[in-house]
């Protein structure tokens, strides 16, 4: 067993580049999905029924597709429609689009739970449109939804493991190739698990600091 971990150690370069790719992929996807989710949330809350209905259909539809299947569609399915992405772009697009739906839905929920009066005060004090959203509505939303957004970011990290099936050289892919090359499945996969765990701890730390900001304002 010790020997198996020794084998994994000898392949640490591969593992670390997988870890780096997972981190980059997740970070880009998290930032982009949150930004797009923020842009989509006002549509979900729109008073115009058509806009809100269309946005909600999109979000609900997306949330009901298994991520693995969605990644398949982007990478293998779209080329038959003439849209061809390489594995990096496909993986990133899949993660972003899929999680945008979740982020928007998280923000919508938090928005509905916000007290009405401070937003009304914003309107009464001369805020409207984008400025009202950006200055008055969004900041308390992000503070109160912080832990749930953090949770979704952890989900993004774990979802990125699926992208091994489109040969994206991320952490699971690296662990997988080490185990098939040397036949050390337990050591390779358990090492990957601990590395994922480390990434999640970073997110947890970030959520913790947002939580402290929110606590001072609650």
């Amino acid at each position: 067993m010790i020997h198996d971990f020794g084998v994994v150690w000898s392949e640490r370069g591969l593992l670390l580049s997988g870890l780096a790719n997972t981190a980059i992929l997740s970070a880009l996807a998290a930032v982009a999905a949150l930004a797009l989710g923020i842009a989509l949330a006002p549509a979900l809350m729109s008073r115009q029924r058509v806009v809100a209905g269309a946005a909600q259909t999109l979000v609900d539809g997306m949330r009901c597709i298994p991520f693995l299947l969605f990644a398949y569609i982007i990478y293998y399915g779209l080329p038959s429609l003439g849209l061809r992405f390489d594995n990096w772009s496909s993986g990133l697009v899949a993660l972003i689009v899929y999680n945008t739906a979740y982020m928007a839905e998280i923000l919508r929920g938090a928005w509905k739970a916000q007290p009405r009066e401070p937003i009304e005060a914003g309107i009464a004090f001369g805020f409207s449109g984008v400025r009202l959203f950006r200055r008055i509505i969004l900041p308390p939303l992000l503070l109160s939804a912080g832990p749930v957004i953090g949770n979704q970011m952890i989900q993004i990290i774990k979802d990125s493991a699926f992208l091994t099936i489109i040969a994206l050289p991320e952490l699971t892919h690296a662990a997988s190739s080490i185990q098939s090359r040397h036949y050390v499945p337990f050591a390779a996969f358990i090492t990957a698990v601990f590395l994922y765990w480390g990434l999640c701890l970073v997110i947890e730390a970030g959520v913790g600091s947002i939580g402290r900001l929110a606590e001072a304002r609650r």
């Binding site: 004090f125 001369g126 200055r135 001072a216």
Partner: protein
């Protein structure tokens, strides 16, 4: 010249929520420096009237003029865009029953936010004025605290400073002391009395009979969406014209005595 002293002119405002008629043909004017207290039983339409003035509620009929310019409707007769409406709203300060402070901003930021972001005034000037306003309401030492750390009375004084920071032509108070513990009401009323004395133009929806009696220049009694009486406080409280007003005053006689500070 008399025209110029009229800050607010409400002309025939009506408002329905579904089939319920909340306001019916309400008209009144407020001159510069006046403190008009709007009294009336719950559900008489007081808050809705206040919210119609700055178009938080859109009136079904009637016009509202601030310093001679119509609110909510353009010269061409069309409904104003949100942007134009926002510009008009920055001329009117509003104080809310449940404070409605912005939870993510400090006390000082709450006061400076609208002048800087909505009125686009220079930051340094706004900040100096905001600090002076916080000193005026006695909260200068709380400037870096978040609203969640304040008592109700302190929150409402921040609410008043926030409204004053707009340099408004008109201040609207929507039951500013109704959500406060009784022992905290006084500190808010003191600030409001000072403003009335300094000649701020104010419309105050309140149940504080003591305040209405000695700080108002005029009292307006609303019942079922109609202005039933409009008189000086002396006249209203000693010789009300209608039976409805007489009953109302009697019911609040106790709280009027308590409300004196």
């Amino acid at each position: 010249m008399k025209q110029n002293s009229k800050v607010l002119d409400v002309a025939g405002i009506s408002k329905k929520f579904g089939a319920v008629e909340v306001l019916c043909d309400v008209s009144f004017q407020v001159d510069k420096g006046e403190t008009v207290c709007v009294l009336g039983p719950s559900g008489s339409g007081k808050s809705t009237l206040l919210r119609c003035i700055n178009w938080l509620e859109r009136p079904d009929a009637g016009q509202i003029y601030l310093n001679g310019k119509q609110i909510g409707v353009t010269a061409g007769g069309t409904v104003m865009t949100d942007r134009d409406l926002s510009a008009v709203r920055t001329r009117i300060g509003m104080v809310f029953q449940h404070f409605a402070l912005w939870p993510h901003l400090t006390v000082l930021q709450n006061v400076t936010e609208a002048p800087i972001q909505a009125q686009k005034r220079p930051k340094a000037e706004v900040r100096d004025e905001a600090l002076a306003l916080l000193a005026k309401v006695g909260l200068i030492d709380k400037r870096d605290a978040f609203p969640a750390r304040l008592s109700g009375g302190q929150k409402q004084r921040v609410g008043i400073a926030r409204a004053l920071a707009l340099r408004p032509d008109l201040l609207l108070f929507d039951e500013p002391t109704s959500a406060l513990d009784p022992e905290l009401v006084g500190e808010v009323l003191v600030v409001m009395r000072d403003l009335a004395r300094e000649g701020m133009t104010m419309v105050v929806v309140t149940h504080e009979m003591g305040f209405a009696r000695d700080a108002a220049t005029r009292v307006m009694f609303l019942d079922r969406g109609r202005v039933v009486e409009s008189a000086s406080p002396e006249q209203f409280f000693t010789q009300p014209e209608t039976e409805r007003a007489r009953q109302f005053i009697q019911r609040y006689a106790g709280s009027a005595a308590n409300g004196k500070t």
